[in-house]
Amino acid sequence: MRVVNSPVSKIDGMQIATGAPVYTDDLVNNALVIKLLRSPHAFARIKSIDIERAKKVDGVEYIFTYQDVPKKRFTVAGQSYPEPSPYDRLILDEYVRYVGDEVAIVVAETEKAALKAMKFIKVEYEVLEPVLDFETAMNHPIVVHPEDNLEVNFDIGMQKGKNIVAAYKFEVGDVEAELKKCDTVVEETYYSQAQAHAMMETYRAFSYMDHNGRLNVVSSTQVPFHVRRIMARALDIPKSTVRIIKPRIGGGFGGKQTAVMEFFPAFVTWATGKPAKLVYDRKETFSCTNSRHAMRIKVKIGSDKEGNIEVIDIEALSDTGAFGEHASTVFPLVAEKTLPLYNRVKASRFEGQAVYTNKMPGGALRGYGATQGAFAVETAINKLASVLKVDPITLREKNLIKVGEEHPILHGATTKPSALTSSTLDKCIARGKQLINWDAKYPREIIDDTKVRGLGMAVTMQGSGIANIDTASAEIKLNDDGFYTLLFGATDMGTGCDTILSQMAAEVLDISMDRIIVNSCDTDISPYDPGSYASSTTYVTGNAVIKAAEDIRQQIINKGAEFLGLAPKSTQFEGGIVKSSDGNKEISLNEIAQRLSSSEGQDQLIGKGTFGSETSPPPFIAGFAEVEVDKETGQVDLINYVAVIDCGTLINPKLARIQAEGGLVQGIGMALFEDVIYTDKGKMATNTFMNYKIPSRKDIGKIIVEFEPSYEPTGPFGAKSIGEIVINTPAPAIAHAIYNAVGVFVTSLPITPEKILEFGHPQGAYPKL
């Protein structure tokens, strides 16, 4: 391999690093400015809205209320059709269901005028009692979505009268009977918080009508094709009238897999014919969009005396907030990405529900349920190790899935059981153990009277795309000067997929990357792609790109042979040139392209490829944490974090490393700092970087990343995914390290000093170790 597996720099790197105007808000011209009036109540019915005085404010053009919008409910979750998320939203509704839910759309010439007008809108609310505690939401007398016209595309277990959005159950073997036979059973309840994405570029979009009278929306989105479908449904117009353009994206992390706000400018432009833009500020981004689903996860694990794990039983409750975006699909991953790791059990069970509450909706965030599941299950496994008094690494070595072995939900719930085709997880664990210096340091090192260092570890898996559902296409066009245009719909949000997909095409076409132009994404031009989410781009879109490149390569060989007067079999394709097998005759790509685009050839070559997978091969990671805990203050300093990863072949080792480092730090934030606090009235209190702390440069200790590449036979050049898996281990590994330092397993995230003191000091002392 020449280009694949080499650390090339991102093709857009220099432009974006030096401030080129290539993001959504840099591209707007003369658009009206939208501001949204939001609900101060967690649950209320709008009795009346008086907009007359507000409309008279100088510069205000339009104000829209719930009386002005289409009455067809839709979902903003970016998922392949038929979406599993319920159609439970309107552009504006008579009911407001969380603090920050939209009440009115104010459209003005300037932001200042819009803000001024907002102050003059008089809203009379019938304030309702909100459902704020997700643990009591089920069967609560107050129903968050009482409306009749809420729809689901298929049965997701919804019982809206009970505030249950979705339910899912999976069971193999007889859990209760097997539990009784176990020598040891550990049981614990874990809580993970509604982590914020906190991408640096907040949500934004603008829209305009084009020369053909079609609605164009430019958006910082991960899912342009899903946004097209969502806009069409929300506005009740044909999909063919909508075009979505995605420029550069300033970070997404799953947040922009949900079309949280594009429908506002789209509606305004469709209703008025005028260009309109909406840029969310940081507070809106924190409190009026989406987040990770907060969950309660109960885990029961049983084993024999030797540490053979016999039973895993998981029960999850997911807080989806006021709307059901990704509600039914996030919580099953708690099981789908944890149970297959321990495939030798005699019985396993997962049962879970997602419930509505009057809080900001949950959504997709890197890890998508696997992160929550990894914290709960891996922490329980570590607890089992401590109860059995065995090394947690030994315990895992004994129980983890190996290549060739099966698990019923290894590739997701929609697949037939099939074997694991690639894994170096054992090597990842062995290497990580060396790098963290496990044998010398485990379990703890006393630094002084108050400070103790502890070691912890966890392993996890993710998938590569959604098996049997998500399908991507790619096209490669040969241009008239012998260079290529690569078209796809995956969305580079900084991850570098434009670069790695172009590496794959260059590899197949045996040409340097500068001869390939990449274009993504414009729904009028790009071939269909669900978008970049579910760890799918390298694997799913990558395989589509390889197919497209192989297709056009064959077409070029055929045409080259024809021009050379040879049979295709008597030629070879090398360095982008078609040569006779004996090397005596050759024709350049440039010449082939020129002759094809003249009256002589009359043939535009376009290669195409579509790929959808029946499996979702998991990447693996072993994470190791070394922390220093101050027993007096509960302060935790992360000293070292080691991660060793099997993501198959590294298409681009440099970009894979950055993905890993970035994901680990986002996971470290979730483990230690990122607290989400609501007031007792249901208002999110942690809505700025002043009170929602993401890690800064001083918070992260030393991060060490290595790879143990396997070769995934179904993957593009043997690759699997990297984007999501990297966020999953920090929470359980750090929780474990803290336990090994001071003897307390904190069971809720983030693990703040207060919680360590609370768990460790009930009688004024930490447990004896």
Binding site: G13, M200, E201, I658, G662, Q666, I703
Partner: protein, 149 residues
């Protein structure tokens, strides 16, 4: 109201509102490398120089720039490119949204600190948040750029 400033070594006159912040005025006048990330002066994305000192342009009223010299990344183009090459060389630009502000802080640090240690670098850049890279690659890049062992 009108203010006279020097921007990237050229004299200019900006018409600004009394309550307008410099980041907004600059974007309005086409300096689109200035990005806003937080509204609370806590992310560092909007960093430019005022009289050669790095400031958060989202938290400085435009009027305060009257008679002063503003430098954006466009004004130190070649130097910024050189620095960016190190970032891109590590893949540490990622989404790129925070990069202009980070580069302006790195270049200011280069002028201010003589032979900085790794600790000095981390301290100086701590106010520049990034959610993509986990900072580790950026540190590798800055150390290489400044020749820090």
């Amino acid at each position: 109201m009108k203010i006279s400033v020097t921007i990237n070594n050229k004299p200019a006159e900006f018409d600004v509102m009394p309550d307008e912040y410099l980041a907004d005025s600059l974007r309005r006048y086409g300096y689109l490398s200035i990005r806003k990330g937080c509204d609370t002066g806590s992310c560092g994305l909007c960093t430019v120089w005022l009289d050669d000192k790095p400031i958060l342009s989202c938290s400085v009223l435009s009027m305060r720039a009257m008679g002063k010299q503003i430098t954006t990344i466009e004004g130190v183009k070649e130097e910024a490119k050189e620095c960016a090459q190190y970032l891109v060389g590590e893949g540490a630009e990622q989404c790129g949204f925070c990069s202009p502000g980070l580069i302006m802080t790195i270049l200011a640090m280069k002028r201010e600190l003589v032979n900085p240690t790794e600790q000095d670098i981390v301290h100086y850049l701590n106010g520049n948040l990034c959610r993509c890279t986990g900072y580790v690659g950026q540190l590798r890049a800055v150390k290489k750029y400044l020749g820090v062992e």
